[in-house]
């Protein structure tokens, strides 16, 4: 037997018999058509209408059709197909509102943009004036200042807490761990109230940005601490052992070996913390409030921020002010997204944010 005939006869083509055949695709198309017809009938009966109404009708009919179509393989198979249909539909449904939010924010936000939107403040313009006057430079600067203050407090404190939990393993480590976790659920307004009663009322006797930054720090702390804790836990004990085996103290082990090893992870933890608080509104209403002018004095008087800018313009109620609110939302959303993507790129896949 020659080699060529061996190749021709005995080497089979690779096949994947478990893949869906063309017949299955045809069946799927038939199911879709039947579901659409069924949904149209259902809409006639129930009075569901509009885009969302037709989607709801389809979502109700499709699983039933899927069930019936697979019944010929038995009840089990029918249930299986129906479950798949429901799960996929529910997934699609859940993502729709988010897509709507993202679309609306950037679509409506576009209206407010003009060349000076990012570079002027609202000192000489009122929010119901035409959209080619005034802007939100004061809010952007204010948000950056507030975030900076919050970071100065929350990042060191959060990382120290994580070091205490993972490295020092002190007496209170399990409590610190549990309460930083539970702390992430503290309502933001409560953090605002707390800073108001202490910093605003007692220390300065006036609203100011420092108080706002501290309120944000309270909310940022648990995110930084929890994420940093997860990051530190990723450092293999081998490295610590190697360091100790060379006579290193715990101090140098942590600062020269452990922390440099997870530098990017800690940056990620910090960025996630910032992203968590960049859009916080409620605590700022009670601490730094809103102001129309670009200010940089953190100790005296209210300061604008993007969330309070959105809130104030929405409250003003005129068409142009609502448009400004959408514009502010688009800017805020972009900032949060940029932070988030940066965190992902730096942290890679092994940094997981914790709640």
């Amino acid at each position: 037997m020659s080699t060529s005939s061996i190749e021709a006869t005995s080497i089979p083509q690779p096949q994947r018999p478990w893949r869906q055949a063309k017949r299955a695709w045809r069946q799927a198309i038939v199911m879709l058509v039947v579901s659409v017809v069924g949904a149209t009938l259902l809409m006639q009966v129930t009075g569901l209408a509009g885009v969302i109404g037709s989607y709801v009708a389809f979502a109700l009919v499709f699983p039933v059709v899927a069930f019936l179509a697979s019944m010929k393989y038995g009840k089990k198979a029918g249930q299986d197909k129906m479950a798949s249909a429901i799960i996929c539909l529910a997934f699609g449904t859940a993502f729709m509102p988010w897509m709507s939010i993202l679309f609306t924010v950037f679509n409506r936000g576009r209206e407010a943009f003009y060349s000076g939107f990012l570079t002027t403040d609202m000192l000489v313009n009122s929010s119901d004036q035409p959209l080619n006057m005034g802007g939100l430079s004061h809010a952007i600067v204010g948000t950056l200042i507030l975030i900076f203050i919050a970071s100065m407090v929350a990042i060191p404190l959060g990382i120290i807490t994580a070091i205490y939990i993972v490295e020092v393993k002190g007496r209170f480590a399990s409590y610190a761990r549990f309460f930083t976790q539970a702390m992430s659920g503290v309502p933001s307004i409560v953090a605002g109230l707390f800073i108001y009663t202490t910093i605003v009322v007692v220390v300065f006797n006036r609203f100011n940005a420092l108080a706002g930054g501290l309120a944000l720090a309270i909310l940022m702390l648990p995110t930084v601490a929890r994420t940093a804790e997860e990051v530190l836990k990723l450092v293999p004990d081998d490295l610590r052992a190697a360091s100790y085996a060379m006579g290193a103290s715990q101090f140098s082990t942590v600062f020269r070996i452990v922390l440099p090893t997870v530098r990017s992870g800690l940056v990620t933890a910090s960025i996630l913390g910032v992203a968590r608080v960049a859009g916080e509104t409620a605590p700022l209403l009670l601490t730094s409030q809103y102001f129309v002018q670009l200010t940089t004095n953190i100790l005296d008087g209210p300061m604008a921020s993007l969330p309070t800018y959105i809130f104030a313009n929405l409250g003003a109620g005129s068409d142009t002010s609502v448009a400004r609110a959408w514009g502010g939302s688009a800017v805020l959303m972009s900032i949060v997204f940029i932070l988030f993507v940066t965190a992902r790129l730096l942290g890679g896949r092994n940094t997981k944010s914790r709640h």
Binding site: K76, R108, V190, S249, G279, L286
Partner: protein
């Protein structure tokens, strides 16, 4: 070898000065962040004490919130019952809507999604978890409010024989139902991510065993994955509940603040404790401010209790996995 007469040596670890300072410093920082919770509670109690003293238990049970007239003719009266009920109602609507979706999204991502879209979808889910609440608020205020008012109208016309779907007047905007839907959307990411985490830890060999016995995918999920993830799911739902209870601006923007206990979820009246504080804060008299502090304390304790329980449950689910 008898170990009874053996004396274990205590290993004395003499730490260097740098280490002692280091450990002390880290402990101080950790205890500082730990004590924040206690500080928050005690300051709010300190500021709100007067109101607790003056109104006692009726601060919780009364629905009347009145700062009184400046001349003192109408006395001030503070009770947060309506707001507490409102918080609970909106939070329950939120979790009722969000939980089935969270389960489905988690199952989809873990067991149904083709592997090439799993990663991007997870990233998108993380991303939407970071959408600020004020943006949910403005979207809810302008888009969802009108949409969901229509749905509410339909619900009311079909189901008005159920008492909580009745309405006193045909106004369907800014209702607990709409606030609940918005909150559902806001807590969906966190509940989903907990669900996903516990579902992903379901033992692979048991799933294979279910397949091996001729089970379908859904059969394997129902008999192995879902029972395995149940306790973690409860924890995730409670985490979501805690978030929903404490949300401020989003609820403020889509809910009509009315000081009356309202269980008719489609009616345009309700409130929650957090939005009460945000609403009344700017115009509050000094005495009312104390009332808001007291309300803040109640909110803080409730959410802390919910969160602590949820954290315990989720941690246990993580550890047993």
């Amino acid at each position: 070898m008898e170990s009874t007469d053996l004396k274990q040596r205590e290993i004395v670890i003499r730490r260097g000065l740098a280490d002692r300072i280091f450990r002390r410093a880290m402990a101080t920082g950790a205890i500082l962040s730990l004590s924040l919770l206690a500080l928050i509670a005690s300051f709010l109690l300190f500021r709100g004490f007067e109101v607790f003293r003056d109104f006692g238990f009726s601060f919780i049970t009364s629905a009347k919130w009145d700062s009184g007239s400046a001349d003192g003719v109408t006395p001030a009266s503070f009770g947060i019952a309506a707001m507490l009920v409102g918080s609970v109602v909106t939070a329950i609507i939120a979790i009722t809507v969000a939980l089935p979706f969270a389960i489905c999204v988690a199952l989809f991502l873990e067991y149904y999604a083709p592997s090439f879209i799993r990663k991007p979808l997870t990233a998108v889910l993380d991303l939407v978890a970071a959408i600020p609440s004020v943006i949910y608020g403005i979207w809810g205020y302008t888009i969802l409010n009108n949409l969901a008012a229509g749905w509410a109208k339909s619900l009311n016309s079909w189901f008005d024989w159920i008492w909580f779907f009745k309405v006193p007047a045909p106004i369907f905007t800014r209702s607990p139902f709409i606030a609940g839907l918005l909150l559902a959307l806001m807590i969906l990411p966190i509940t989903t991510s907990v669900a996903r985490e516990v579902y992903s830890q379901a033992p692979r060999d048991q799933i294979d065993a279910a397949y091996g016995l001729g089970g379908t995918k859904w059969g394997a999920i129902r008999s192995v994955v879902m029972p395995f993830g149940r306790s973690g799911l409860v924890g995730g739902a409670m985490l979501g509940l805690g978030r929903a209870l404490g949300e401020t601006v989003a609820v403020y923007l889509v809910l009509n603040l009315v000081f009356k206990i309202n269980l008719q979820i489609l009616a345009s009246a309700g409130g929650n404790v957090a939005s009460l504080i945000a609403t009344r804060f700017s115009e509050a008299t000094p005495y009312e401010l104390k009332g808001l502090m007291a309300a803040g304390l109640v909110l803080f304790l409730v959410t802390l209790a919910v969160n602590a329980t949820a954290t315990l449950i989720v941690n246990r689910a993580r550890n047993t996995a």
